[in-house]
Symmetry: C2
């Protein structure tokens, strides 16, 4: 019943959403999933206007099926030179190790929040689904995407956030359990102890809101999908497993980490961007955190880490790379995105 | 298949284990669950020899069905007067607030680990199942409980711990997901970032070991049981929901907290015993932690908190009480233990 409702709402055949994952995928993965009957997602948080336009054009050329575009909607913090200086001091030993000239590192905002300019660009393409992370943008921006009839989704990490999203106009709530890889969508609290495991979060959010609920976090195979539906989800969102697909742009280094024993230990860290996100524990995370008080506010922490990451990767090391991963990478197997989508859909109960 | 195997191994009818919960239940709850066809558990960590003997006698009088006795198997830390003094200094403002005479507070070990004396006492009763928390006791102690054919269970919070337990003689591994209430069973690492949500932990442990796996953490109703079985569990262990049964000795204060909105926010804290355990966030937890570096090693932190807890409870406050709870208390409803056991068993798949 609820599955039928979400399939109709999104206009898709299979209740499987590919999680938007900035940095490890572009339009190719989204197209493959949408073509297979699931909902492909394009992460837009790190795309400039030209890149965004190119990616959207590509999607519309390659598939007539619905797809999702995802944006961050954080508030940009004021630049804080003192905090930036403190952060660079913390990173100084690593700069020295890799011979990086600190004065040459630009400080920059990095990820840009959703704004009117992006909304106007989107209006040309009228994407059928628009999802947000870190809450929802201002009402006038939501009104803009509604003009072309887009379905609006956002992530909740607590029952309170799910209620907030429903009250502020989300058509679908994604229950993002603690197991999920990448950035925590949390936006009503910065207290990590409020975060709830998928198994406990999904049924509580299903109980708390009337809109359809998508389960996310730790789902990597058909058995996981079946479990999510047993808990009351109307669909699933899967990230980590899609990172191993050939259509993803995941680096070799990152793929190797996901397929290794290292993936058994992930943690929530703020050292890469300033906001907690789950990745495979590496040197930067374990030596500075995983949570480091000196990391500047999101997304300002990223700029100072970028040259370190580049230098380390050049040397074949992922110790300064955000190796985003959920807590269940061991269940993920490399395969084409369509095949993975069909495999996941086998976990959807009959007659629902 | 795997369900049949665990039912035969434990000699029970329903693959539902009532989690042992020291401080909120005794033999009455265990008897009710075992009589209903599940596996009732007696928490023994806080029982002296006489109380343990009384409880075991009562169980054997009241039910002929299998039951489980649970022990902690930590290593007792050396008394550390400096650490104790530091801890009492941290607590001093609260002592002052409640007019507690610090010099009158005894320091004591509190929870005692499983030892030869307890094993000898058990031998008189030959309990069919013996479970441990914090790993397993020394091989000679395991050999003792095996003499009367007891089945041995213990909790794993990571894949590595599950492998360790299997290699060291556990017949059944309980996969304790991050959602679970009470003490984390973790014993190979003290790093909380190693802890995994139920949804991701259960399938990984099922994949890693050959012994049957019991899912624990966030399971509170038939839907949760169905989800746990979908993830590959052979049985479930449920704690928080049983705390609301009339057969439990849960205090009114604790019951009220579990049934209130406060139960939406639990956290892992070490302020009550020195080891991380999940409880509803209250004043002691939020003001000192939830993780406090000054808390002495387990179980030594408990003694200094005891008089505060008593004074606060006397005044009708649970702000200094360990209000143990999993992350899914909202799904729990008060009902007799037999009814809850039957309700949970409705989630067990047919033909398994």
């Amino acid at each position: 019943m609820t599955v039928r409702r979400i399939l109709d709402l999104l206009g898709i055949d299979l209740p499987v959403i590919q999680a938007p994952m900035a940095g490890v995928q572009g339009s190719a993965l989204a197209i493959a999933v949408s073509e297979a009957g699931g909902l492909g997602s394009l992460p837009c948080a790190m795309l400039g206007p030209k890149a965004l336009r190119d990616e959207l054009s590509r999607i519309q050329e390659e598939t007539g099926n619905p797809y999702n575009v995802n944006f961050f909607c954080h508030t940009l913090p004021e630049p804080n030179p003192a905090a930036e200086l403190r952060w660079r001091k913390v990173l100084a030993p690593y700069y020295a190790e890799y011979g990086i000239d600190v004065s040459a590192i630009p400080s920059g905002p990095g990820r840009r929040p959703f704004d009117a300019e992006m909304a106007d660009l989107l209006a040309e393409f009228r994407p059928p689904v628009v999802s947000f992370h870190f809450g929802l943008p201002a009402p006038d921006l939501i009104a803009k995407v509604r003009e072309w009839g887009a379905v609006v989704m956002s992530s909740a990490t607590t029952v309170a956030e799910a209620r907030w999203l429903e009250a502020h106009g989300a058509d679908i709530v994604i229950a993002q359990g603690l197991e999920a890889g990448g950035h925590r969508g949390m936006f009503l609290s910065e207290d990590l102890s409020t975060q709830v495991g998928t198994f406990a979060l999904v049924p509580q959010i299903v109980e708390a809101v009337k809109v359809p609920v998508v389960a996310a976090g730790g789902i990597a195979d058909a058995a996981g999908v079946a479990a999510a539906f047993a808990l009351g989800a109307s669909a699933v969102q899967v990230g980590t497993a899609y990172m191993l697909c050939p259509e993803a742009t995941t680096s070799t280094l990152h793929r190797q980490a996901l397929s290794s024993d290292a993936a058994e230990h992930t943690a929530l860290t703020n050292v890469f961007t300033g906001r907690p996100a789950r990745g495979i524990v590496n040197r930067l995370m374990s030596e500075l955190g995983p949570i480091c008080q000196a990391a500047p506010a999101f997304p300002l922490a990223a700029a100072a880490v970028a040259p370190l990451r580049a230098a380390a990767e050049q040397a074949g090391s992922g110790e300064f790379t955000p190796l985003w991963s959920g807590q269940n990478a061991r269940a993920c197997r490399p395969m084409p995105a369509a095949e993975l989508t069909f495999l996941l859909a086998r976990g959807v109960p009959d007659r629902s």
